[in-house]
């Protein structure tokens, strides 16, 4: 399945280049947006801090949205092509089949994330980059947690079909705002403390963003009582989420098979 995905990607080189360009355009646009608020001759350290907040949150956002999109979209593609039902008749592991769908894109997203960090670093004149090793561990557990959410959406795609795509879109933007991917949680708190206390604090994704950013910038995390507690939440998220996600997927898939709607689109 991974080989098939890589082969498919290689057939659409324009899509690859477009994705690359797109990432830089998004970052450039937000950097210009922050520039519109930055007074002339302001402290460059503040600029670096803002750049770091944007790009480190963006990296987590990239992994989240690609994981969510790719599994759901790939299932949907199999549905519309009419190959999903045949795939389920093959004696291959369904878990491996699900995981393989994001394998290729995750490698590509990793490369994109590195380039995004380098790009922003070059623009703002260097980014704080502390505890890269620990940040990498946080990233691995976070991606594992995102896979769990993506498994749920794979199941939801089988059930809801086209509507699931809108749901994924909605979730993507929901996390973008409530998990403070482009700005610190303090900005959300300034808008309304209820947003942070009532929504953000209850989302494991928020902790992924907060810990990843705090570890790399070298600051105290904003959400939890301490770094240790937030790290624990991210580790638990990374372990439990795929288990819960796959269980949910299995239930939804079985439901569709029982109802005979697996092949429908």
């Amino acid at each position: 399945m991974s080989k098939k995905k890589i082969l498919e990607f290689s057939r659409y080189p324009i899509a690859f280049v477009a994705l690359f360009v797109q990432i830089f355009l998004i970052i450039a646009m937000f950097l210009y947006a922050s520039l519109a608020f930055t007074p002339q001759g302001s402290d460059p350290t503040a600029g670096r801090q803002v750049g770091a907040q944007i790009v480190y949150g963006f990296v987590i956002g990239l992994f989240l949205s690609f994981t969510l999109w790719d599994i759901g979209f790939s299932i949907r593609e199999e549905q519309t092509r009419g190959t999903l039902e045949s795939l389920y008749l093959s004696p291959a592991s369904k878990f491996a089949s699900l995981l393989a769908r994001v394998f290729a894109i995750l490698i590509w997203v990793g490369a994109l994330a590195v380039f995004a960090i380098l790009f922003v670093g070059a623009v703002v004149g260097g980014l704080p980059l502390q505890n890269a090793g620990l940040a990498l561990v946080v990233l691995v557990f976070s991606v594992s947690g995102f896979l769990g959410i993506a498994f749920i959406f794979a199941g939801v795609t089988i059930k809801l079909k086209e509507t699931a795509q809108f749901l994924v879109s909605f979730l993507q933007f929901f996390f973008m705002i409530f998990s403070a991917q482009f700005f610190p949680f303090s900005a959300l708190r300034q808008a309304s403390p209820l947003i942070v206390d009532g929504v953000s604090r209850w989302l494991p994704v928020s902790y992924s963003v907060d810990v990843f950013r705090s570890v790399l910038i070298g600051q105290t995390p904003e959400l939890g009582p301490s770094m240790e507690v937030e790290l624990l939440i991210v580790v638990l998220f990374g372990i439990l989420s795929p288990i819960v996600g796959y269980w949910t997927y299995n239930r939804l898939e079985r439901g569709a098979r029982t109802a005979g709607t697996l092949g429908e689109y």
């Binding site: 659409y12 324009i14 899509a15 477009a18 994705l19 360009v21 797109q22 355009l25 998004i26 450039a28 646009m29 937000f30 210009y32 947006a33 922050s34 520039l35 519109a36 608020f37 930055t38 007074p39 002339q40 302001s42 503040a46 801090q49 803002v50 907040q53 944007i54 086209e162 509507t163 809108f166 749901l167 879109s169 909605f170 933007f173 973008m176 705002i177 403070a180 482009f182 700005f183 610190p184 303090s186 900005a187 959300l188 300034q190 808008a191």
Partner: protein, 302 residues
């Protein structure tokens, strides 16, 4: 009688009259509407998207202001940095909301036309469409009318909902002028949409191209900032781009800030010129592209 008329017109070789052309536009329009009503989530998402899109730079602005220390007000910072001809606004929330809502209109117009071409290609109906005894312009008119309606629904909901959420009032002043900018701005957008459709027909990879062009558009349009912040050569390019003039006009009318071409008259004159030239140019590009494709591999390939 009907048979006689058909025979006298050469069994399908006759040119359709105005009523038939109107019917084509209506049928295409209704077909698209019928399809989209099956996906209500899409309409909701389109309306929410500009709000989310505007919220990000608003929160970013609050962050930057907090980083400056001394309790700096983001509105004051924004005003100071974006002042042109001694005119600026502290209402950065409305600035972002108007930019994001107008961007959604532009993006939807291009996306829906481009995606329509691609969808017809993929489902294998584009070639059959070319065999129908009707000029392409009427089919395109139906699709663009649908895109216009869908974009306007998203715009109105986004402005209404966004104003409530951000607690801003877009109706303080200049709404009439803003609507004029929006209405005239749609004409060059149609032209751009035709060009975009032709481009998609040629290169075929719609999704990725649409997405990247969408961000190029957002960048050049100055969705979250005035284009004066861009380097000089980019300002020159962005100034000749119809969506930039449209967004700038809508924003300057409502927020009482400087227009890209110095005054409302200047910007309107430029936009009117674009409204005359771009649709004709766009349709010409579409026709030339499809003619070339039909001569070579045909329009059915995808």
């Amino acid at each position: 009688m009907a048979a006689q008329v058909a025979a006298s017109r050469g069994f399908g070789l006759g040119r359709p009259g105005w009523r038939a052309k109107r019917e084509v536009v209506r049928t295409v329009f209704l077909a698209r509407i019928k399809i989209i009503t099956r996906y209500k989530g899409a309409i909701l998402m389109e309306a929410l998207l500009p709000i989310v899109f505007a919220a990000m730079p608003v929160l970013l602005g609050i962050t930057v202001a907090a980083q400056q220390g001394g309790g700096a007000d983001p509105g004051d910072l924004f005003c100071a940095k974006t002042k042109i001809n001694n005119l600026c606004t502290t209402n950065f929330k409305l600035y972002m909301l108007l930019g994001a809502a107008t961007f959604t209109v532009v993006s939807l117009m291009l996306w829906l036309i481009g995606y329509w071409v691609r969808r017809e290609q993929e489902t294998g109906t584009l070639e059959s469409l070319y065999l129908a005894p009707v000029r392409r312009i009427w089919v395109l008119a139906g699709v663009t009318s649908y895109a216009f309606l869908r974009a306007m629904i998203a715009f109105v909901i986004a402005i209404a909902l966004g104003s409530l959420l951000f607690q801003v009032n877009p109706f303080n002043s200049g709404m009439g002028l803003a609507i004029v900018f929006l209405a005239i701005g749609f004409l060059p957008l149609w032209g751009l949409a035709f060009m975009f459709g032709a481009f998609i027909m040629k290169i075929k990879e719609a999704d990725s191209v649409i997405q990247v062009l969408q961000w190029i558009l957002a960048f050049l349009m100055g969705v979250f900032y005035p284009i004066t912040l861009l380097p000089g050569y980019m300002q020159a390019v962005a100034g000749t781009f119809p969506p930039t003039v449209m967004t700038d006009g809508v924003r300057a009318s409502i927020l009482n800030i400087s227009f890209i071409y110095q005054s409302a008259y200047g910007s309107l004159a430029v936009l009117c010129a674009m409204a005359l030239v771009v649709p004709l140019l766009g349709y010409q590009v579409f026709e030339v592209t499809e003619r070339r494709l039909r001569r070579k591999e045909g329009v059915g390939h995808y």
